[in-house]
C-alpha cells in the first residue's frame, strides 16, 4: 500500500518547493551590499547613475539609473522600496520613511514638513475643507495612504 511518505508525487512537490525557494534566494539582496553609502552625497536629490553608469544593482537586479531620484522616481518610489529596501537604507534612515508613512505621528504631514518645501507635502492650505472635492474627483490618490490602514483620523467623522 502506497502512503504519502513514499509517494513520488509528494517528493516531486517537495523538490518543486525547494527549487522555488532556491530561485527566490538567488534574487534576494546580497548580504555583502554596503549597509551605508561609502561616500557622503552632495546636496539635493542624488542621481545614482552619475557615478554608477552601467552597473547593475545586485539586490534589485536593476540598473542604478532606475534609482535616480527623478520626479518620476519620487512618485513611484514605493515600487523600488518594495523591491529592495536595503538599497534605500544605505542612505535613508527608517525615520525618513516614517515622516510620511508611519501614520502614527501627532503632527499631520503638512505641518510636520513645513520646513522642507522641497519635499512633496500633501494636504496643505486647509486641506480638511476641500478634501471631499479631491475625493470626488480622484479617490484613488486617497487610498494610497488611507482606506486599508491609517484610518484613525478619518474615522472620527466617517463613522
Amino acid at each position: 500500500m502506497r502512503t504519502w511518505r513514499t509517494s513520488p508525487y509528494l517528493l516531486f512537490v517537495l523538490a518543486l518547493c525547494l527549487g522555488f525557494l532556491s530561485a527566490c534566494s538567488l534574487l534576494s539582496p546580497e548580504a555583502s551590499f554596503a549597509p551605508s553609502h561609502p561616500e557622503k552625497l552632495g546636496p539635493g536629490r542624488p542621481l545614482c547613475s552619475s557615478c554608477h553608469e552601467s552597473e547593475l544593482l545586485s539586490g534589485a537586479r536593476k540598473p542604478y539609473a532606475s534609482f535616480d531620484h527623478t520626479p518620476t522616481f519620487l512618485k513611484d518610489h514605493g515600487l523600488s522600496a518594495g523591491r529592495d529596501a536595503g538599497t534605500c537604507a544605505s542612505c535613508h534612515g527608517q525615520s525618513f520613511c516614517s515622516d510620511c508613512h508611519s501614520g502614527k505621528t501627532m503632527i499631520p504631514p503638512a505641518v510636520l514638513l513645513g520646513n522642507r518645501p522641497d519635499r512633496a507635502v500633501p494636504h496643505r492650505a486647509g486641506y480638511l475643507s476641500y478634501h471631499q472635492i479631491e475625493g470626488k474627483i480622484d479617490p484613488v490618490g486617497c487610498y494610497t495612504c488611507h482606506g486599508r490602514a491609517n484610518n484613525q483620523r478619518c474615522a472620527a467623522c466617517h463613522k
Binding site: A89, G114, P117
Partner: protein, 233 residues
C-alpha cells in the same frame, strides 16, 4: 417555484466589470540623460477593491462603480540644476464623470548656490456633480492650484518660505461655505548646532473655507538617534 422580482435600474452602468480589483501599469522611459517620460494607467473596481478593508464604512463607494485613470509625466533637465516637470492626469469615474489635472513645476536646484526654489501651477477640470436637496442642481469641482517655495540651506542654518493657493471656480459649491479661495504661507527658520540636532520654528498664515484667518506656530526639536548614514539623507 416562482418569485416576484423587482427589476431596478442599475445605479451606474451595466458594463461588464473585470474581476480584478486593482490594476496598475507603469512605463518609465529615459529618453536622454536629461529627459525622462513616464506613463501610468490605473483601473479600480470598487466592488472588489473594498472587500478587505478594515473599515468598510469609510470611503463607501457605489459598489458597481469603476474608475480609470491615465497619467503622464515629462521631466526636462533631470541632471540639470534647472528642472521642468510637466504632468497630466485624466481620470474617469462612472458616478462623477471625467476630470483632468494638468500643470507644470519649474525647479531651480543649483549645486553650488545654496538657494533652491520652485514654482508650480496646476489646473483641475472636473465635471459638475449633482447636489441633492440644495439651492442649485449642480456644482463644479474645477479649481486651480499654485505654489511657490524657497529654501536656503546654509549648512548650520536654513530658511524656507512656502506659499500655496487654491482657487475654486464655483462659489456655490456647498463644500466651500461660500469661500472659493484658500491660501497658506509658511515661513520656517532653523539652526543645526550639530549634524544630529536641529532646532527650528514655523509660522504659518492662511485662509480657507473653514477659517477666515488661520495662524499657526510650531517649534520643532529634532534629534537623529544613531546619526546620519553614509549618504547623509
Amino acid at each position: 417555484m416562482a418569485f416576484n422580482q423587482k427589476k431596478e435600474e442599475p445605479a451606474v452602468s451595466t458594463e461588464k466589470k473585470s474581476r480584478l480589483a486593482e490594476q496598475d501599469y507603469k512605463l518609465s522611459w529615459k529618453i536622454t540623460r536629461s529627459i525622462q517620460f513616464s506613463g501610468h494607467y490605473a483601473e479600480r473596481n470598487f466592488k472588489d477593491f473594498f472587500a478587505g478593508t478594515n473599515l468598510p464604512s469609510l470611503f463607501r463607494q457605489i459598489e458597481t462603480e469603476k474608475y480609470k485613470a491615465q497619467s503622464a509625466l515629462l521631466t526636462l533637465g533631470v541632471d540639470k540644476p534647472y528642472q521642468f516637470v510637466a504632468d497630466y492626469r485624466r481620470a474617469k469615474r462612472e458616478s462623477n464623470g471625467e476630470s483632468t489635472r494638468s500643470g507644470a513645476e519649474f525647479r531651480i536646484i543649483p549645486t553650488t548656490f545654496k538657494l533652491k526654489s520652485g514654482l508650480a501651477y496646476h489646473r483641475i477640470t472636473a465635471a459638475e456633480v449633482p447636489l441633492i436637496g440644495g439651492t442649485v442642481a449642480f456644482y463644479s469641482l474645477s479649481h486651480s492650484e499654485a505654489r511657490l517655495w524657497l529654501l536656503h540651506d546654509g549648512g548650520g542654518y536654513y530658511l524656507s518660505l512656502d506659499a500655496v493657493s487654491y482657487s475654486f471656480d464655483d462659489r456655490n459649491n456647498p463644500l466651500l461655505n461660500g469661500e472659493p479661495k484658500a491660501y497658506l504661507g509658511v515661513a520656517s527658520v532653523g539652526i543645526r548646532p550639530s549634524k544630529a540636532f536641529t532646532l527650528s520654528g514655523d509660522v504659518s498664515y492662511g485662509m480657507n473655507s473653514l477659517y477666515k484667518k488661520e495662524v499657526r506656530g510650531l517649534l520643532r526639536i529634532e534629534f537623529h538617534f544613531g546619526g546620519n548614514k553614509g549618504g547623509g539623507k
